[in-house]
């Protein structure tokens, strides 16, 4: 039964399993323009919805007059908060335990806030209607600077909760205060600082940015009045969560809600949350009895849905004179905008920021985070990030450089000296995490050798001398970053979203002819799940990847899952696949034993089937077992070959990496050139190296954008200054540097296939590498920290401040 003409290697290669640079299944349709994105959907009688948005950052609404809008040809309805109150939907709960206005109720709290929803026969008519809605505002004092939010006379933003001083995460101490979150041992940490030989302290800000996937947020809602069923097609990274949210807030039976995420044009965290557009489109469909489409335009996307970061971190490190760190203390002022709509696991108001001890063995640490309201858009999404890990990695990696500078020590050497050592894993961090595995020394050494680090430092020293002698106007920076991530949220003991544990799921069904389908609770937005998930199955049960269809994004057919974000697909869903496949394999082994007339224990697995130990010619392939599963199973066994697995991870996974960036900056123009960027990633077992490298390229490009130019900026009256791609920096192929990728492999000991996840690592590690390069370039002129983003203008400003240019 075995194809004896093939060698073992050939049989393995045919599977295209783990480690194969398998070409993507998705590309066949995407390269032909046959993807199926939300805006491609056109249903009979479909209407279009569009928002009237606030031009003010803070204002009272005196009146809304719809009359003129309702006379516009094609306009069928204009919804306001008053209308939504009738169905109890003027406000909605956020994932962070706050409430958020769906449509402005009495006042507006940020520029671009949704005020009214116009429903019309086509998108042009809806736009006409938007212009015709007459809203009268009374401007109120605006709060933009987060450092002024808690001043006694600061304007009170959230009048709805101004007297409610116990928030979702404990007591609030000011009407603009959302929560204080603390972790670690304060006393021990303070004591370590009081006897520290050396200490540094710096305000390190991570500016407000935006994920801006190329496709904006959008949905089509269709309510079937006869059946009482609501179908929503949307750009949802977590379709099941959306279904549950809709069931809870719209009070519809959950089985009558069908959520479908078709192909998604990038997500990066932008498409995790529930936005007013979804609610309004659903209500509009219920009201009109017609399908309603809502498609955000780019300006709306940048100004109203889901910023990221806006973390202002005061970091302190205590150390010995020899450079051994003894304590870390960080206070964060977290600007959450007008509503706390952060997409974090419920019990984690500052996400996993307590990974801020990074890759280093801190004996003690203490972190406090104050979340505050300002007149900015809500959001706080994990933009290519596992819940504030990006901020944490930036904070510690910048702070370590600042400490190195103070000690007069090389930053790579300081890191090496303080690394958690391989024998310390599983490592318990001072802030409560259990790191699963790592070999940091090996990774950093490999990186330093590859880039010839010592030569770079020599060259830099020579250049600095030349600069001092006036022979060059260029300064050189070498940015080193060694990050440790925490991904794969997460274990039910500490991670949930709205009370739902953050497991993930897989159902595999094998057909008689040896092909099959895997249905998943996650949702790819470009990560290539249809390709890589099948590879895991191929290696586990010996069915070629090309014979497995992977289906995601349909809540009716897929088992419940928590979705794709925070690099959780491989650590959680990837594990669910492996465990489901192993259930199938166990049954397959029984069938094979029955058919080969031996005891199960006499069988051994061999690439794509079972073989009788010691009798190589007695073999039954998985393909044949599939057939047998449908016609001759052992007596008493149910026919069929399928399995479902819900995987509750025992721990997070902790990918890590060593990045080096070499940069030259002209002090008279601020123009920088990225000479080299080297990224070594350790994401454990590598499923598809081609896709991993692609993820790293993409994440590094986003990191480059953030570090070197990206920012959502407001003026003091709350106007968004970066509302289009004209002002909001997205690098083109021209600016984007060349990326060098590399790897080490330290499998996760608790993951069924040892994989850790990689999607966000390059973003987490890339930003500090770039920023450290810029700061390293300027450091010899007496600067300790320059705030991001490091665009030409800011570099030039820094040079001016340091007195080296006019």
């Amino acid at each position: 039964m075995n194809d004896i003409t093939l060698t073992r290697e050939e049989r393995e290669a045919k599977l295209e399993g783990l480690g194969c640079r398998r070409k993507r299944v998705e590309d066949i349709r995407f390269t032909q323009g046959k993807g199926n994105y939300v805006d491609d959907l056109k249903l009979p009688g479909m209407l279009h919805g569009d928002f009237v948005r606030s031009p003010y950052a803070h204002a009272r609404i005196k009146s809304i007059n719809k009359d003129a809008a309702l006379k516009v040809p094609g306009v069928l309805a204009v919804l306001t908060a008053e209308d939504l109150k009738g169905v109890n939907l003027a406000w909605m709960p956020t994932l962070a335990g706050d409430v958020q206005m769906v449509l402005a109720d009495g006042k507006v709290l940020f520029q671009g806030q949704e005020v009214a929803f116009v429903v019309a026969t086509d998108r042009y008519a809806a736009d006409d209607g938007v212009v015709a809605v007459d809203v009268e505002y009374e401007a109120l004092p605006v709060l933009i600077d987060p450092f002024k939010a808690l001043e006694p006379d600061a304007p009170v933003l959230r009048e709805d909760i101004k007297d409610k001083m116990d928030g979702a995460h404990g007591p609030r101490r000011h009407p603009n205060h959302i929560f204080e979150w603390t972790v670690g041992d304060k006393e021990l940490t303070d004591a370590a600082f009081s006897k520290a030989e050396v200490a540094i302290k710096e305000l390190i800000s991570y500016q407000r940015v935006h994920p801006s996937p190329l496709e904006t947020c959008q949905c089509v809602c269709s309510f079937d009045k006869i059946k009482g069923e609501l179908t929503i097609w949307g750009t949802f990274q977590a379709p099941h969560v959306i279904r549950t949210v809709v069931a809870l807030i719209a009070k519809l039976p959950e089985q009558k809600i069908h959520v479908i995420s078709p192909d998604i044009g990038g997500g990066f965290g932008n498409k995790v949350g529930a936005y007013p557009g979804y609610i309004c489109a659903a209500v509009a469909s219920i009201v009109t009895g017609k399908p309603v489409k809502w498609v955000e335009d780019r300006i709306e996307n940048l100004t109203a849905t889901s910023f990221a970061r806006d973390y202002h971190m005061t970091a302190e490190i205590a150390a010995t004179k020899e450079g051994k760190v003894t304590a870390l203390r960080v206070h964060v002022l977290a600007d959450h905008g007008a509503f706390d709509a952060c997409a974090d696991p419920s019990k984690w108001p500052a996400g996993f920021f307590n990974i801020v001890t990074g890759s280093y063995d801190f004996p003690t640490a203490y972190v406090s985070v104050d979340g505050i309201y300002t007149n900015k858009a809500p959001g706080g999404v994990a933009y290519r990030c596992s819940f504030r890990v990006t901020e944490a990695a930036y904070c510690i990696e910048r702070a370590m450089d600042i400490l190195a500078q103070k000690l007069g020590m090389d930053p790579a050497e300081l890191r090496m000296k303080n690394f958690i050592k391989p024998e310390q894993f599983p490592y318990h961090s001072a802030l409560g995490w259990e790191y699963d595995s790592g070999d940091y020394q090996t990774a950093l050494n490999k990186a330093l050798e590859t880039v010839k680090y010592e030569d770079l430092r020599k060259e830099q020293a020579a250049k600095r001398e030349a600069f001092r002698r006036g022979e060059t106007r260029e300064i050189m920076g070498v940015g080193v970053c060694f990050f440790t991530e925490i991904v794969g949220a997460g274990p039910s003991k500490n991670c949930d979203i709205l009370g739902i544990a953050m497991f993930d799921s897989c159902e595999i069904r094998l057909h008689p002819t040896g092909a099959g389908i895997a249905r998943m609770g996650t949702k790819s937005q470009g990560q290539g799940h249809e390709t890589t998930y099948a590879q895991i199955i191929a290696s586990e049960i010996g069915i070629p990847a090309e014979d497995i269809t992977v289906e995601e994004g349909n809540t009716d057919t897929a088992p419940y899952g928590l979705g794709t974000y925070g690099s959780r697909s491989t650590p959680v869903a990837g594990a669910a696949i492996a465990t489901a496949a192993r259930k199938i394999k166990a049954k397959a082994q029984m069938i094979a034993a029955y058919r080969l007339e031996v005891h199960e224990d006499d069988l051994e697995w061999d690439v794509d089937g079972f073989r009788v130990k010691g009798l190589p010619e007695k073999f039954m392939s998985m393909k044949d077992i599939c057939w047998a599963a449908y016609n001759s199973v052992p007596p008493g066994m149910e026919p069929g070959l399928e399995a479902v697995s819900y995987y509750d991870p025992p721990n997070m996974t902790y990918p890590f990496g060593a990045y080096v960036c070499v940069m030259d900056i002209d002090v008279d123009t601020g123009v920088y050139k990225v000479r080299r960027f080297y990224a070594l990633d350790d994401c454990g077992t590598r499923i598809n190296p081609m896709i991993i490298e692609g993820q790293v390229h993409g994440g590094l490009t986003e990191a480059f954008a953030i570090a070197m130019g990206q920012e959502i900026r407001y003026d003091e009256t709350g106007n968004v200054l970066t509302g289009s791609f004209m002002d909001f920096f997205l690098p083109t192929a021209m600016e984007t540097p060349h990326w060098e990728t590399d790897y080490t492999v330290t499998p996760s000991p608790h993951h069924p296939i040892g994989a850790k996840g990689v999607g966000e690592s390059p973003n987490v590690g890339g930003v500090p590498a770039f920023s450290n390069a810029v700061n390293d370039a300027f450091s010899f002129l007496g600067s300790t920290h320059i705030q991001m983003p490091h665009d030409f203008w800011r570099n030039w400003q820094a040079a001016k401040r340091l007195g080296v240019t006019g």
């Binding site: 590309d27 032909q32 046959k34 491609d40 040809p73 937005q525 692609g694 490009t701 791609f725």
Partner: protein, 171 residues
């Protein structure tokens, strides 16, 4: 209520080799005409402000961002969209194959515009070097790939069209 047919204009054009026509408002953008009237949804919208290039189509031998052109402006024109890119026998064209082989796409949202731009680029310059490719596609944004493999995809296609060998792997 029905929308009154005020001031609609009749347009005719050739799209992917087929003659099409429509009665359109003067303000209708070409991208909406293509996507909604013709139901050719491979041409995407990423910004509507001429920055992202997701809406790029080939118009009378030029790459054009169809979100910045009115349908009435292209009366009589010859347009090619991503749906017209595959080979006559239905197989992937050199560029489409190059994008797949070199992992030049992830979410696929920029891909149709990127391929249409690359198509014109290779007509203008059949053998571009990396810098020329990077400059040539700088009107098209990609949020996923970091461009490195897109450059390779275009080099792959150029080699295939020129009958030379392209050895490099996606990285």
């Amino acid at each position: 209520m029905t929308t009154p047919q005020i001031g609609k204009i009749h347009v005719t054009m050739t799209v992917n080799g087929t003659q099409v026509d429509g009665l359109v408002e003067p303000r209708l953008l070409l991208v909406h005409f293509i996507r909604e009237n013709l139901q050719l949804t491979g041409t995407h919208i990423g910004c509507e402000t001429s920055h992202c290039g997701a809406c790029t189509v080939d118009l009378d031998g030029m790459s054009v961002k169809s979100c910045t052109v009115f349908a009435v402006q292209v009366d009589g024109a010859n347009i090619m969209t991503i749906e017209g890119m595959a080979n006559a026998d239905g197989t992937l064209s050199a560029l489409q194959e190059g994008f797949r082989m070199m992992h030049g796409l992830q979410c696929g949202f920029c891909t149709p515009g990127m391929i249409m731009r690359a198509h014109r680029l290779l007509k203008e310059n059949p053998n571009p070097n990396e810098e020329e490719i990077r400059f040539g596609i700088s009107g098209n944004l990609c949020r996923c790939t970091g461009y490195q493999n897109i450059v390779k995809a275009i080099q792959y296609a150029a080699a295939k069209l020129n009958g030379t060998e392209f050895k490099e792997a996606a990285e």
